[in-house]
């Protein structure tokens, strides 16, 4: 059981929670994730570790309210508890980049920026030159702008509708930067699967190594079920233990999108149960 010590609403659908989890905080590295379960009837969901504080012993998660569990999680407050919180899981990103990387472009899409941010921050702290492109649908959902500015060398913000920053997609900006002569040893793309797929399509002709953080459906997160299997370079990989980061030019994104849609109808039904589950959860916490 972990306690929520800080809650911050980043935008109408994205919430930040900082929880007390000293053992995980001691070990966590950028790119790793946790699995949580809210209560006895709850499902296990994976969330990337957004930040960690080894001294305070806390872990920060940021998530979008997209279904039943994230809705319930988003409704929790400071002082509330989460029944199960396991981690750090998966392999950290840094070793995947190699030791001689000097300049990196981190590309975040929507809530993916919450995961792109710690990546940018840790690479920047290491002395690597970091450019960030953060893309959002429109102005009202922009998150972490100030945090990003403090954690990179150049920050570019795009909105699809042009209500803030530059109008266009992250791929437009990335292509423009590369064509303008910016040399990147690697690109890290984190966001919705179609966005990561198109970032990879953008970098492929330039031969820039592109790392993506995959988000398949997971249950245990420790390699015992294969629910999170993805095809990378023609081989079956389990994202929870072999990843979640992979060479984006080798990933079968269409297969991933297909596998992620298996329970869509059921998820829509579940969301309607939100109200009554919230009451149950509240009752559970009072006891």
């Amino acid at each position: 059981m972990v306690k929520i010590v800080r809650k911050k609403v980043l935008n109408p659908s994205v919430t930040l929670l900082e929880v007390e989890a000293p053992r995980i905080a001691k070990k966590a590295q950028a790119g790793q994730f946790i699995i949580l379960r809210l209560d006895e009837e709850g499902e296990r969901i994976p969330l990337t570790i957004g930040d960690y504080d080894r001294e305070k012993g806390t872990i920060t998660i940021m998530f979008q309210k997209v279904g039943l569990t994230t809705q319930l999680l988003g409704d929790l407050n400071e002082g509330d508890t989460i029944l199960d919180f396991v981690g750090p899981l998966g392999r950290p990103t840094r070793p995947e980049l190699g030791s001689d990387v000097k300049r990196v472009c981190v590309v975040g899409g929507g809530v993916g920026c919450a995961i792109a941010y710690p990546q940018a921050k840790s690479l920047h702290e290491e002395g690597i030159q970091v450019d960030v492109i953060a893309g959002f649908r429109s102005k009202d959902i922009v998150i972490l702008e100030d945090e990003f500015k403090a954690a990179c060398d150049h920050f570019y913000l795009t909105t699809d509708d042009g209500t803030y920053g530059e109008k266009g997609f992250v791929t437009d900006k990335l292509k423009a930067l590369i064509e303008a002569g910016n040399h990147y040893d690697a690109v890290i793309a984190i966001g919705p699967v179609p966005m990561m797929k198109f970032v990879c399509k953008t970098t492929e002709p330039f031969g820039i190594y592109t790392l993506v953080s995959l988000n398949p459906i997971m249950i245990d997160g420790t390699g015992m079920c294969g629910g999170c299997r993805v095809t990378v370079g023609g081989e079956m990989k389990f994202a929870c233990v072999d990843g979640p980061d992979f060479d984006g030019h080798k990933v079968d994104f269409d297969e991933l999108m297909n596998r992620n849609s298996v329970y869509r109808e059921r998820e829509a039904r579940e969301k309607e149960r939100h109200a009554c589950r919230m009451e149950e959860l509240a009752a559970h916490m009072i006891h």
Binding site: R23, C225, M236, D252, V262
Partner: protein
């Protein structure tokens, strides 16, 4: 007067066409009268060959004699002096290849129903007494147990009884390993597993769930934190796939995933959040006990179910009883059939599985006749879900994060057969982590042997 009936007292069971719609236990267990009557079939022979067949050395004729007298508490005391988990082993042990296959009565007629009697005694105790054990005086020595499946629970229990300060580290949110995520409720009710875990905690063992050893906490850190010895009972949980086209389609599961969703996450129950696919027709590929469990779960979820197995019925590794139960419940067996590919419905979901018929050729290295494809016999089996139950191997996480821990080519930890000691001083291992996927009772036996060796090692090094 001994009962000279040539057959065992039959086990009362739910009707097949009722039980294949619910997750309640299939067998309802002996009544006291049935148990006493069956116990009288035991001849209490001098040689006691049954005991040699039991990996945890239960004093079988002795406990059965108590049952015959109607002294069920006495019978429970005899069993639990060597076996910590009788309500579990009485249910899931393959007695036909262990204790019962050595029974003298089995030479002419059926052996004594040792497993059913063991189960009866454990259930009687839980329903009528259910006293929690008392915590023995501590000897002050800390030991760590990795995993909480049958090997670990047995090892932890034996060490706790000797006064060690035992901490169990489990990756999942619930203790029990395969007993909770793999074996379904209708074979082993989860409340029974929980009761055994509660007893272990009453003995003083400390259970830390949500701890992934190798990630959250390492074996080296355990020694730094003052643990003097570690038992690794992390099992063999890594599922295998066939490597055929279509295995990534939506609707293809490993048996581990399917069973975890249903058993651990309770996807079969109203009100639980974890989804599982609604299936009309399911193909389960494989012929082991796990395949039987997956098939019988799928049946209870309302699907038409096929078991697709590449050899013949006699070669199936599953227990006869499980195959029999599955057939009674309406599951169709396609022997000498093998999947070639899984076919797409055009939207990324399973439409059918293409199979090829097989025939048996010459014996292979394992001594079993090798299945060979019959060319041109391919056909499509109309299914919307495929569950791959091809076996499992040990997860690499612990061996890859523990320097000096030797593993073989198959990824199994190398341990001494008698002491279960690994290549690292103070680290012992047992169960599927050492043997690869095997049985619950063999894991319990390994946990028991390790506890004896760990006690000797610790007493020599740290005892007074």
């Amino acid at each position: 007067m001994p009962n000279m009936s040539l057959t065992k007292n039959p086990m009362p069971e739910q009707d097949p066409n009722v039980r294949n719609h619910n997750f309640k236990e299939v067998s309802t267990g002996y009544t006291a009268e049935m148990a006493i009557d069956e116990a009288k079939r035991c001849l209490n022979c001098k040689a006691k060959p049954c005991v040699n067949g039991c990996p945890v050395n239960i004093r079988i004729p002795e406990f059965i004699a108590k049952v015959a007298e109607g002294d069920f508490q006495g019978a429970y005391d005899v069993i639990t002096s060597t076996n910590s988990l009788p309500s579990i082993s009485g249910r899931v042990c393959p007695q036909e290849t262990q204790c019962e296959c050595h029974c003298v009565r089995g030479k002419k007629g059926e052996p004594v129903a040792i497993g059913r009697l063991e189960r009866f005694v454990a259930d009687w105790y839980r329903e009528n007494v259910n006293a929690m054990p008392e915590k023995p005086a501590s000897n002050g020595i800390k030991v760590a147990v990795v995993g909480s499946g049958p090997a670990s629970l047995t090892c932890a229990s034996d060490l706790a009884k000797k006064g060690y300060e035992v901490s169990i580290f489990e990756a999942f949110h619930t203790a029990g390993g395969v007993l909770v995520y793999g074996i379904p409720e209708f074979r082993l009710p989860k409340a029974i597993v929980q009761n055994e875990v509660d007893k272990l905690c009453a003995l003083g063992a400390d259970l830390e769930c949500d701890t992934v050893v190798g990630r959250t906490y390492t074996i080296d850190e355990m020694f730094e934190d003052g643990y003097k010895a570690v038992f690794v009972g992390s099992g063999a949980g890594l599922p295998m796939f066939m490597g055929i086209p279509g295995e990534a389609l939506a609707g293809v599961y490993s048996a581990n995933e399917y069973l975890t969703r249903i058993n651990l996450m309770k996807a079969y129950r109203e009100g639980y959040d974890t989804p599982v696919k609604d299936s009309k027709a399911v193909a389960v590929v494989g012929g082991g006990n796990v395949a039987m469990d997956a098939a019988r779960c799928a049946k209870r979820m309302g699907a038409k179910v096929y078991v697709v197995y590449r050899r013949d019925e006699a070669s199936m590794p599953a227990r006869r009883e499980e195959i029999h139960h599955a057939k009674e419940e309406g599951i169709e067996f396609l022997f000498l059939n093998n999947p070639v590919q899984i076919l797409d419905d055009g939207h990324g979901k399973v439409r059918a599985m293409e199979c090829v018929k097989m025939e048996l050729g010459e014996p292979d290295a394992s001594g079993r006749r090798r299945p060979i494809e019959i060319p041109g016999s391919n056909y499509e089996l109309e299914v919307d879900t495929v569950i791959m139950s091809l076996g499992t191997s040990p997860n690499p996480l612990i061996r890859s994060t523990t320097p000096g821990l030797e593993a073989n080519k198959k990824g199994c930890l190398v341990a001494d057969e008698e002491t279960m000691a690994t290549s690292r001083e103070g680290v012992y291992a047992g169960g599927d982590a050492v043997t690869g996927a095997a049985t619950v009772i063999l894991a319990m036996g390994a946990g028991k042997k390790a506890a004896v060796a760990m006690d000797e090692y610790l007493q020599e090094k740290y005892g007074k």
